[in-house]
């Protein structure tokens, strides 16, 4: 609310800003509280973990980070996760966005049905689809020694291709894109059509530039979702060569052998790339239309 008032009355910035900053600071502090302990644990020597947790460890140490880095496969895991995630982010920024745009602005006969059918797949728990998807990965044609019909080899199992198989098009991204474009005016398209512009041109030259927040969102959510997934890599990866960061950190959470400090340190290390991606992209959430793009 204060946002609107501040903007509407064009008051000088600073005078209106501090209550907002105060509220945000308090909420941020509350939200981050669990991580304060997490970080504290990461710097607490392993033997003392949990017996003397305090805000600032009595004898802070980097030993846990060293342990986390030393784990045989964290480097492979980082590379694998980075490759799989980057490719998934790229495909997700194109394919679902295009589809979402079409569902919002270029309806065709039956498009609603198609839309709902596609979206509905997000409402089925992974437990049920895991095994069939695994069978598809194994029987993927022409991969991993398979013939055209998908038999004979191990298919996409234990490979980067297998890891990325379920992530290339996120159904929720289709939904998100449709909603985003639905919030935009159709009259631009109308005008451009009268001028003779092609549909793809209308999309790529008019709507896409206004959809920077959307692309930023899709990129961030795809990155987070793929980077953090555990169940699929657990099932499809069967050796170090296709391990991922989430698989790697379970090394410290092995039943009966939890290494708390190292687990927290590894979790922090593994979370950094996602936060960097977020930090870089978050500007995107507030650009776009608010810069006057609509008026053109």
């Amino acid at each position: 609310m204060t946002a609107l008032m501040a903007r509407a009355r064009r008051r000088p910035r600073s005078s209106r800003l501090w209550p907002r900053v105060m509220v945000l600071s308090v909420v941020t502090a509350l939200v981050l509280l669990p991580f304060v302990w997490m970080t504290s644990l990461a710097f607490t020597p392993e033997g003392a973990a949990f017996s003397e947790v305090r805000l600032i460890p009595a004898q802070p140490t980097l030993e846990n980070f060293a342990t986390a880095m030393r784990v045989a496969n964290l480097d492979t895991a980082f590379i694998n996760s980075a490759v799989v995630t980057s490719i998934a982010v790229l495909t997700n920024c194109v394919i679902p966005v295009l589809a979402g745009y079409a569902f919002a602005h270029l309806p065709f006969r039956g498009s609603k049905v198609v839309f709902y059918v596609l979206i509905s797949t997000a409402a089925i728990p992974v437990s049920v689809t895991l095994i069939p998807l695994f069978l598809m990965a194994k029987n993927f044609p022409l991969a991993g020694g398979n013939d055209l019909l998908g038999s004979g080899g191990s298919g996409l199992l234990d490979s980067l291709g297998g890891l990325m198989l379920p992530y290339l098009v996120g159904t929720m991204n289709i939904f998100l894109s449709r909603q985003y474009f639905a919030g935009m005016d159709r009259d631009f398209a109308e005008a451009a059509r009268i001028d003779g512009a092609s549909e793809f041109r209308i999309f790529s030259r008019i709507y896409l530039p206004m959809a920077r927040p959307l692309i930023a969102l899709v990129a961030v959510f795809s990155f987070t979702g793929v980077w953090d997934d555990f169940l699929w890599p657990l099932v499809v990866s069967t050796s170090e060569r296709s391990t991922t960061v989430q698989l790697a950190i379970t090394t410290f959470a092995s039943t009966g052998n939890v290494k708390y400090g190292a687990l927290m340190a590894a979790t922090i290390l593994v979370s950094i790339p996602v936060l960097v991606v977020f930090l870089v992209n978050q500007r995107g959430f507030i650009s776009g239309l608010s810069e006057g793009g609509l008026k053109g």
Partner: protein, 301 residues
């Protein structure tokens, strides 16, 4: 209403070239989803009419509607449905309202706003394995919450081991986890609200609340619809937080349907009945989401 709401997209008859291109634009996504997502779902649908252990050598054995029939009379499943429903209904409004507030507050460029936004997103990012240990500890008898209560002179509670508290404790963690992503979506949604409408509203003398009701909320509608539908879809499949915090207990008071499905599928190796549960859950999610989407589109039910 003092001001005009943003123009609602006109309904257009599907015809002519735009429609053709619409179909073309959808093809890549549709093909992929049909093969790699819909395919497995249909496979699951078929399995729901069978008795099948992935370990067995003989493959699925057709049993007709048996799995669904036994769910109908199963008090445990009924209870899990109720718990799931309660879980969705108590987490959803709180998350959305707080997230909307935060989005409005951080919808402004000022020094450090990026850090605020990133901080809010942290819970969404950090993997649950580690976070759950922290939360287990926060909720433990000597944990932070009880320590704070103690400082305030109030009696501590058993957050995860009493029937009354456990689902609420899991819900609180879930609100915390979902806040950031909801906020970010709404923040992006706010950008689609045309600026000049605010100008117009201001000229009409609308105060902040009136502007919010008349301009912000209608403009935010498509994104708000998405946020609510997404939350329903994910919350109704709530599993991980339950798995790590309470294992469905105490007394099954936090056993959500998806927790049952996981147990049935991977502990008891009964994919048939697990799939049947999944499709009943699906019907529930679809029902709720359709209501949400219709309301979001401003239509009558």
């Amino acid at each position: 209403m003092p001001t005009g709401a943003p123009p609602r997209p006109r309904r257009r008859r599907p015809h002519g070239k735009p429609a053709l291109f619409g179909a073309l634009f959808v093809v890549p996504a549709a093909l992929y989803v049909a093969i790699f997502q819909l395919g497995p779902v249909l496979y699951g649908l078929v399995l729901s009419f069978t008795r099948y252990s992935p370990l067995s050598r003989s493959g699925p054995e057709f049993v007709g509607l048996d799995n669904y029939r036994s769910l109908y009379g199963d008090p445990e499943f009924g209870r899990a449905m109720l718990i799931t429903g309660r879980y969705v209904l108590q987490v959803l409004p709180i998350t959305v309202v707080i997230a909307l507030g935060l989005a409005l507050l951080s919808n402004r460029a000022f020094r450090g706003v990026g850090l605020f936004r990133t901080a809010m997103y942290v819970p969404h990012v950090v993997s649950l394995t580690a976070v759950s240990m922290i939360w287990l500890w926060i909720y433990s008898d000597d944990g932070v919450i009880n320590q704070i209560l103690d400082l305030l002179g109030m009696a501590g509670q058993r957050w995860l081991s009493t029937e009354d508290a456990a689902l609420n404790a899991a819900s609180a963690m879930r609100v915390w986890k979902a806040l950031g992503s909801n906020m970010v979506l709404l923040l992006a949604g706010l950008q689609t609200v045309p600026k000049d409408l605010y100008e117009a509203a201001r000229v009409d003398g609308a105060n902040a609340w009136q502007q919010f009701r008349a301009v912000t909320l209608p403009g935010l509608r498509p994104m708000l619809t998405y946020v609510i539908a997404m939350d329903i879809i994910y919350l109704a499949q709530g599993f991980t937080e339950i798995f790590v915090l309470t294992q469905g207990g105490p007394y099954g008071s936090t056993t959500t349907v998806n927790f049952l499905i996981y147990t049935e599928a991977f502990q008891y190796n009964q994919m048939g009945s697990a799939s049947a549960m999944a499709f009943v859950l699906f019907a529930f999610i679809a029902g709720l989401s359709i209501v949400a989407i219709r309301v979001g589109q401003g239509r009558r039910l």
